[in-house]
């Protein structure tokens, strides 16, 4: 794979036609690579009579496209060590931050894959916050990245986004207490400059928004705008999902409005991504649309038959990325629900699909003698 070539397009410059051509070529090559380098992946494809060489011929003739490449349910990364590189070449193993007791995904990265993830993340995020490094406030505790051996999604996210930092400041101590004085000093130092903030959606709501609101109600020296901390120069990127906030009935709009209310922050970008495809994240633009970058795709599948859903129709989210080279994670079926809102025509000017993520699929309700049917082990 010539990644210099593959990563050449800007993140949002390919339109539908160019994109299809781009993905057809990159994904055929990736599929061939994983087929020959990962025995488990080969078995999975062989069991359905999928042969990458004849598939490529069909793609070239226009009979098939990258959309016909079999997708692996992400759960399989919890069951098996899926690797397309030798054990010695693994430089990093990422794990999902699964709930206690559950298996975690294990994602094996070699040097090149890891480097490409950083590269792509940089070019996607730069499209939103600019190319210059900024003072960064991590809305989390430094404790989460202290153990470098354990790359959980949370730690990896913070480290990954830290590449945009000129200087980094952690907003919470290890007990998740907000360090107001420290933050004030940090903001004072960079007064009048854009500040980059990063954190996980639920943490931000629980420990930042609620705390600032409480402090204000306690009448702790807010400024004339009612801000304990003035972040009107801030750009916040947050991710991690809405599951916990949904249970508190907090919508994306509530979230943004409240943030603006307590600290004046105007630019808030949610992102969707997963440890299985680090790098190719889906960032929300100012229109509130999550954008698919050049290097990846989202296909919404109807649960009944896995056919591709229409725009605006809800279904299971399949994610495609050109980055996974050291492990066969280039075409994955998630357990998230979502929809494609449109393609190439977002008012923000970015090309490509834009999507909406609607949360996890429901657990099964099932009849039968055994009491303990559980999905998602």
């Amino acid at each position: 794979m010539n990644y210099d070539e593959i990563l050449k397009p800007a993140p949002y410059e390919l339109d539908k036609v160019a994109k299809t051509e781009y993905l057809n070529s990159a994904l055929c090559e990736l599929t061939r690579h994983h087929y020959s380098s990962c025995e488990t992946y080969r078995k999975m494809l062989s069991a359905q009579d999928f042969d990458p060489d004849s598939f490529e011929v069909q793609v070239k003739s226009g009979e098939k496209s990258y959309k016909d490449i079999p997708f692996l349910p992400v759960r399989l990364f919890k069951e098996y060590d899926l690797r397309s590189t030798s054990e010695e070449d693994v430089v990093k193993t990422m794990t999902s931050s699964g709930t206690t007791g559950q298996n975690r995904s294990r994602i094996y990265l070699d040097k090149e894959t890891s480097r490409n993830q950083t590269k792509v993340l940089t070019s996607i995020v730069s499209d939103y916050i600019g190319k210059k490094r900024l003072p960064m406030i991590v809305l989390d505790t430094s404790a989460v990245i202290k153990d470098r051996n354990l790359f959980t999604a949370r730690g990896a996210g913070i480290l990954g986004f830290s590449i945009f930092a000129r200087e980094r400041f952690f907003a919470f101590d290890e007990n998740m207490n907000l360090d107001v004085e420290g933050l004030k000093a940090f903001l004072g130092k960079y007064e009048g400059q854009p500040i980059f903030l990063f954190g996980f959606t639920f943490m931000i709501w629980q420990y930042f928004v609620k705390e600032l609101e409480k402090l204000r109600n306690d009448d702790k020296d807010a400024d004339s705008n009612g801000y304990i901390l003035d972040l009107s120069n801030g750009i916040l990127i947050h991710g991690g999902g809405w599951k916990k906030l949904e249970s508190e009935a907090v919508s994306s709009e509530d979230f943004k409005a409240k943030l603006k209310d307590v600290c004046g922050i105007e630019h808030v970008h949610d992102y969707y991504g997963m440890v299985e495809q680090t790098g190719t994240i889906y960032m929300e633009c100012d229109e509130g649309h999550m954008h698919v970058s050049s290097y990846s795709d989202v296909i919404i599948r109807r649960p009944q038959d896995y056919s591709e859903a229409d725009f605006g129709e809800e279904g299971l989210v399949e994610v495609i990325s050109v980055l996974p080279y050291s492990y066969p994670g280039h075409v994955l079926l998630t357990e998230d629900r979502g929809m494609v809102l449109g393609e190439d025509d977002c008012p923000c000017g970015r090309k490509g699909k834009y999507i909406k993520i609607l949360g996890r699929v429901k657990n099964a309700e099932i009849r039968g003698c055994s009491d303990t049917f559980e999905t998602r082990k």
């Binding site: 069991a47 649960p303 009944q304 039968g368 055994s370 009491d371 998602r376």
Partner: protein, 430 residues
């Protein structure tokens, strides 16, 4: 009374006795006691007449099971000489099969035991309807007693023998109830059994537990082709439709998650017949299910995941392409390819996931049948069905407790899961 503090925590669907302690003091009865038979047959007609119950097939099947003629026939079939009930029984019903509690209770009543039944806490309509009808039968009896000759209805006492309750998981209550009983019956599979067993039973208490099981369908392809691909097209089509319906009853009706639901199809015969059978069979099933069964999204993903697991762990397996996610099939060539330490039960997913194996001999059974195997439904003639049983017996296989025609995997009988329930729930005096 110690009962009090527990009674408050319970949801009581039906209970006539004043306390569990009182139920403990009730005399054990002889199996198939006339009063029990009379009460159940009254209940049977009440269920058959009830406007709501009428429209519910599972209730009608239950009513059919406890109709007088069937009870008397079952009495006939059981050797009950010298037998008497063991005493108070506790039944832990499964949480996902609404009607099961009733069969468990009836079996134990017929054996002669008072019954405390813990029904599913899901508050199923079936539970409520049956308990309402028990009350109605009881009220009509009381009226009769006041009006007429009490001798006609001497089964009034038997109402004390039934308590149907539910409570959320609470070890203290299970501890208490378990300490009272002489028989404990646990449905709901391995995890529930492990959970309930944390509550000790009395030294002489009998426990009957229904573990997670594995079931299969055996199809004699030659026989199947002869029935479904004959010269009489109409008759063949009818046969296929019946097969589809029967298969549905065994599988999708319970999300393929009942203990008797087949998860493996054993195709037996010449390869030509097998190929033909598979195509006719699955087409018929798919046609029948298409508008009937909706695949939940997470189930679709579960089945796809399992298909890949089979592909990964069992060499030379084939995932069969399908136009939708209702039926997921994976063919296995050779049971010897199972990874060591794993059995077929490690490769199951409810909601329509099937492993398929083809052979011109029965030898494959020897390789796979272990103590987890419960039901073998069959599509073959009588002789072949008999030879299946002979094969299991002559090879001393540790599993397969029932060999029944396709469509009958869920038919309840007093011999269930390899246990003779009347035997298990009674003692013998010599």
């Amino acid at each position: 009374m110690e009962d009090k503090k527990y009674l408050e925590k319970l949801n009581i669907y039906y209970m006539n006795a004043k306390s569990f302690g009182d139920m403990q003091s009730l005399p054990a009865l002889l199996p198939f006691d006339d009063r029990v038979v009379d009460l159940l047959s009254e209940l049977s007609s009440a269920i058959r007449k009830d406007a709501v119950a009428k429209s519910m097939p599972v209730l009608q099947t239950f009513a059919f099971f406890i109709r007088k003629a069937n009870l008397l026939q079952m009495k006939e079939e059981h050797s009950i000489t010298d037998r008497i009930g063991k005493g108070l029984s506790l039944h832990i019903a499964p949480s996902n099969v609404p009607i099961n509690f009733a069969y468990s209770m009836v079996s134990s009543l017929l054996a002669g035991n008072p019954c405390i039944v813990r029904a599913s806490s899901k508050d199923f309509d079936e539970t409520k309807i049956i308990c309402r009808l028990i009350k109605e039968v009881q009220e009509s009896i009381q009226n009769t007693v006041q009006d007429k000759d009490a001798n006609e209805v001497d089964f009034a006492d038997i109402f004390n023998y039934m308590a149907v309750i539910s409570y959320p998981h609470d070890k203290e209550i299970t501890d208490y109830l378990s300490s009272l009983v002489n028989v404990r019956v646990i449905w709901g599979g391995d995890n529930t059994i492990a959970e309930i067993r944390k509550s000790p039973i009395r030294p002489r208490c009998t426990e009957v537990s229904f573990a997670d099981r594995y079931s299969m369908l055996f199809v004699d392809a030659g026989y199947f082709v002869s029935q479904s691909d004959g010269s009489d097209k109409e008759q063949s089509a009818k046969y296929l439709e019946t097969m589809a319906k029967q298969f549905f009853n065994d599988t999708y009706l319970f999300d393929q998650n009942a203990c008797g639901s087949p998860r493996l199809i054993y195709w037996y015969g010449e390869s030509g017949d097998i190929e033909k059978s598979k195509s006719l069979f699955w087409d018929a099933i798919h046609g029948y299910l298409k508008d009937k069964y909706e695949v939940q999204p997470v189930i679709a993903v579960d089945k796809t995941t399992m298909a890949y697991k089979v592909a990964t762990e069992i060499d030379d397996s084939r995932i069969i392409p399908s136009e939708d996610n209702i039926i997921t099939r994976v063919e296995i060539d050779d049971f010897n390819q199972l990874p060591s330490g794993k059995t077929l039960a490690d490769f199951e997913a409810p909601g329509g996931f099937f492993l398929e194996y083809s052979s011109d001999s029965l030898e494959g059974l020897k390789e796979i049948v272990d103590e987890r195997f419960q039901t073998m439904t069959f599509v073959c003639d009588e002789n072949k069905a008999k030879s299946l049983k002979d094969y299991i017996v002559s090879n001393g296989l540790k599993g397969v407790d029932r060999i029944v025609p396709i469509g009958h995997s869920a038919d309840f009988g007093l011999v269930w899961d390899g246990y003779d329930l009347i035997d298990s729930f009674t003692r013998r005096i010599v």
